[in-house]
């Protein structure tokens, strides 16, 4: 059947082209129908390699389908559909085209069967998504987008170098298990790690996502990091180093999230925290852990999207996103408030919400495999994520002190998109079997036993109690207008300043060197002229340059005169 040959990125790229030439309702219809049609088609596609051809000496497989890639393929379609509905009111063609291309690139990357195809989509992800940041059209979004692009392209270049090494070592470009052996393994690991926001390589995310447009951030939060999670799950399952990296990723961002004022940046930090859970799962590498990582990625796309959408609605309606400016919005934005709380409950992994059914798999796997301290860190991070994403986000935006802002709920398309995401969050939470049936491994895991439910509920309620207690005691840090230094300080401040100082010193040395050289040269000339003063008084005097020029002019004039009379 010819339909089988259509890789999912193609409809999105065609959609992008159409979106560039159409306007109004027609464009909206095209944009909404593409993820629907593409998803229905994907549902019918069996596993296997559907497209391959030889390129130089290598077999390329731009379209390979298996359970792992299908999971990400499905959720990317859901995410694209929700985000497109959310952005239907936007009339900026640049954003709509970039969003379609970006979603297509994400799909292309997860169905890439070889490293070269993966590299192409890896770079396309960077180049298409940066326009969603630049589309904000502010000075700060421009520079943040630039930094984002540089880091993403760097990741791509490292991936290409790793791919070349891989081809040399293995004689094949097939994207399967890679492992940390040889230069290729490490280079590709670093490339994936940068896109996955590993600690110290995470600032592109917290820097750029809050600078993107209201709708752009919703797209951004869904694809880039999840493609990296998918790549790690395929290339490096069971790599123990990932357990420690992931545990660090779950813990350190929550400290920054507690003191951050920009609520979308709080969500960016919590995105790193959630990706940390997935990375731990991939690092453990058992069937249960991998299932947990993949299903958590699936759920995270939806509930993180929902949270970004609710904060986007606040920004869209009020023009503000800092916690210090907001508060009391529940009075006039009741629907957004409820939807935001559904997202907050999901990310906090409340029983009956989607986060619970996936995160608990990673936690159980950590305990089963003897990672006791890692389990304690994950438990701390679970309490912490409830603290900053579950309570802080809704509390400072919709409750807290009354900011006096009285804005209504956002346009209907935004509400509808949030509603779809919220329904999915609850549906997956209540009926996880549907999600589990799509997973690569069959583990027979049941999240709803009394022990798990009680433990998680106790943890969350007492975290809430801690919040209340700290607030009543006045110990909770108030929202302050501020910038908090993070690792990006190194390349945004320390390096430029150090370079500036080094150049200043070099310039000084250079200046002094030139000065002394010229002075010495002068002395030499004076010395020579004095020395020959005795020989010829007329010739070796220190004449000014002007007189020299004058005499040259006189001689030339004489030549001219002579040539005329000749």
């Amino acid at each position: 059947m010819w339909m089988l040959e259509i890789p999912p990125f193609l409809p999105f790229f065609i959609g992008a082209l159409l979106a560039g030439f159409t306007r109004g309702i027609l464009r909206n219809i095209i944009m909404v129908s593409i993820p629907v049609v593409s998803a229905l088609h994907l549902w019918t596609v069996p596993e296997g390699i559907h497209l391959q051809f030889a390129f130089l000496d290598y077999q390329l497989m731009p379209y390979r389908v298996d359970k792992l890639s299908l999971m990400f393929g499905y959720v990317f379609h859901i995410a694209a559909f929700i985000a497109i509905v959310y952005s239907l009111h936007v009339r900026d063609t640049l954003q709509q085209v970039a969003a379609m291309l970006y979603a297509g690139s994400g799909l292309g990357a997860v169905f890439a069967g070889d490293l070269l195809t993966l590299f192409v989509f890896w770079e396309l992800l960077a180049f298409t998504s940066v326009f969603l940041i630049w589309a904000r059209r502010t000075r700060s979004s421009y520079v943040a987008g630039m930094r984002y692009l540089i880091i993403q392209v760097l990741s791509g270049v490292i991936l290409l170098a790793g791919t070349l090494f891989y081809a040399a070592e293995n004689g094949s470009l097939e994207f399967g298990h890679i492992g940390l052996e040889g230069i290729a393994g490490w280079l590709i690991f670093i490339a994936f790690g940068i896109k996955c926001a590993f600690p110290m390589a995470h600032n592109w995310l917290t820097d750029a996502y809050p600078e993107a447009t209201v709708t752009g951030t919703v797209f951004l939060s869904a694809f880039t990091t999840k493609v990296a999670v998918y790549a790690l799950a395929r290339g490096y399952p069971g790599t123990e180093l990932l357990v420690y990296i992931g545990a660090a990723m779950t813990c350190f961002p929550i400290f920054f999230a507690v003191i951050e004022n920009d609520l979308r940046r709080v969500l960016a930090y919590s995105l790193i925290n959630q990706v940390g859970f997935m990375v731990v799962g991939i690092g453990i590498g058992t069937a249960l852990a991998l299932n947990g990582a993949i299903s958590h990625a699936f759920n995270d796309v939806i509930f993180k999207g929902l949270l970004f959408m609710s904060m986007g609605s606040v920004l869209h309606m009020t023009g503000r996103i800092n916690g210090s400016d907001l508060g009391g919005l529940y009075k006039t934005m009741p629907k957004t408030t409820v939807l935001c709380i559904v997202g907050a409950a999901s990310i906090s992994a409340f029983p009956l919400f989607s986060g619970f059914v996936s995160k608990s798999m990673v936690m159980s796997a950590a305990l089963e495999n003897g990672y006791d301290w890692i389990w304690l860190m994950l438990l701390f991070a679970s309490a912490g994520v409830f603290h900053h994403a579950g309570i802080k986000i809704p509390y400072f935006a919709f409750f807290a002190h009354d900011s006096g802002l009285r804005v209504s709920d956002p346009p209907n398309n935004m509400l509808l998109a949030m509603f779809i995401a919220a329904v999915l969050c609850i549906a997956i939470g209540i009926y996880p079997s549907a999600l589990y049936s799509l997973l690569p491994y069959d583990t027979g895991y049941n999240p709803y036993d009394a022990t798990h439910v009680l433990a998680q509920t106790q943890l969350l309620f007492f975290s809430a109690l801690a919040f209340v207690w700290l607030n009543l005691r006045g110990m909770y840090p108030p929202e302050l207008r501020s910038t908090n230094l993070d690792f990006d300080w190194i390349y945004r401040r320390a390096f430029p300043q150090a370079l500036q100082k080094i150049f200043a010193i070099i310039e000084k040395i250079d200046h002094a060197f030139r000065q002394t050289f010229l002075a010495n040269l002068n002395l030499c000339l004076i010395f020579l002229s004095r020395r020959h003063e005795g020989v010829s008084i007329l010739l070796s005097r220190t004449y000014p340059v002007g007189s020299m020029v004058l005499w040259v002019a006189v001689i030339l004039a004489a030549y001219l005169f002579l040539s005329f009379i000749h």
């Binding site: 059209r137 210090s324 943890l459 207008r481």
Partner: protein, 120 residues
């Protein structure tokens, strides 16, 4: 956050009701520790009130450490904006002094939200 549908948090007694509801839930959950028999995978889980205590202490430590981090990580809002300037301490104090939200609102530059009506 459970009964946000009342829209009446302007009344202190409603806030108080919500807090009482939270306290009762916490007490009930703690009491359930006696009733429900856990099948545990780790010895720490056997300790009475392990999860509640860990959640509470964890969050308090989190907030206290984060607050302490502010002492050396916090810079004025426009820290990265004014690249040429070196004396940040002065600007920083000004920001802290005028922290009052309402005072600052008028000064705030209008931020493009991005979904502008550009039809390129």
């Amino acid at each position: 956050m459970e009964n946000e549908k009342k829209y009446l948090f302007d009344k202190p007694e409603n806030v108080q009701r919500l807090l009482y509801f939270l306290y009762i839930c916490c007490a009930l959950l703690l009491a359930l520790d006696f009733v429900i028999h856990r099948h545990v995978m780790h010895s720490w889980e056997n300790l009475w009130g392990f999860y509640p205590l860990y959640g509470f202490v964890g969050c308090v430590v989190l907030v206290l450490v984060a607050t302490w981090m502010r002492t050396f990580l916090m810079r004025p809002e426009n820290y990265y904006a004014d690249e040429g300037k070196t004396d940040y301490a002065e600007t920083f104090n000004n920001v802290e002094a005028s922290d009052d939200v309402k005072n600052n609102r008028t000064k705030r530059h209008s931020n493009g939200t991005g979904d502008n009506d550009v039809d390129a």
